[in-house]
Symmetry: C2
Subunit: 82 residues, 2 copies
DNA sequence: ACTTAACTTGTCGAATATGTCAAGTATGAA
DNA sequence: TTCATACTTGACATATTCGACAAGTTAAGT
């Protein structure tokens, strides 16, 4: 399990975001409202679905809205055997 | 310190990567050689310098080459007071 | 001074992320 | 059924990433 495919990474990131968002009881619209920086539900939906390879700044904005560290969103398993 | 500017985030991410890379004694060329996935030193340099808003997949590839979890690269301080 | 290695930076083209808008789906309540 | 809320998806325009190549810079060693 040395390196995951791109689609797998994106899916995991998206699942992380959706899981945290639901745990906190937020809707996608809530997230958009919580941050001054521009972002919209279309993109959030696509990221949660793993359909888009988000930039780190977009993920940072989402982490701010979710009130979690960016690193929590980026929590993808790691294997030492590269 | 509720939300950092885009340029600040990118700079921190870049510093993380460069610090880890140097700690491990790798050159940028080393990194490129360590992963089968295509990536080049031009982009690594720009990311380390905070000049480019990298996608999560690119950062993942770099994390693989650095042999650290993606979340370590994405370690940006978090403030509860959003 | 010269060479080499490591890194930076500019440019180019192709691919794609993002915001915006519109339309569609799903669910639940009245 | 009707309405509202939440989410998804497609299309479009704009901006930017990313790989590539070339050229420039910096630092260390001989």
């Amino acid at each position: 399990m040395s390196s995951m495919k791109k689609s797998e990474i994106l899916k995991i990131i998206g699942q992380n975001i959706k899981r945290i968002r639901l745990e906190k009881g937020f809707t996608q619209v809530d997230l958009v409202g919580k941050i001054e920086a521009r972002i919209d539900t279309t993109n959030i939906s696509r990221i949660e679905k793993g359909r888009t390879n988000a930039t780190i700044h977009t993920l940072y904005k989402i982490s701010q809205a979710l009130e979690v560290p960016l690193s929590e969103i980026c929590d993808v398993y790691f294997s030492e055997s590269v």
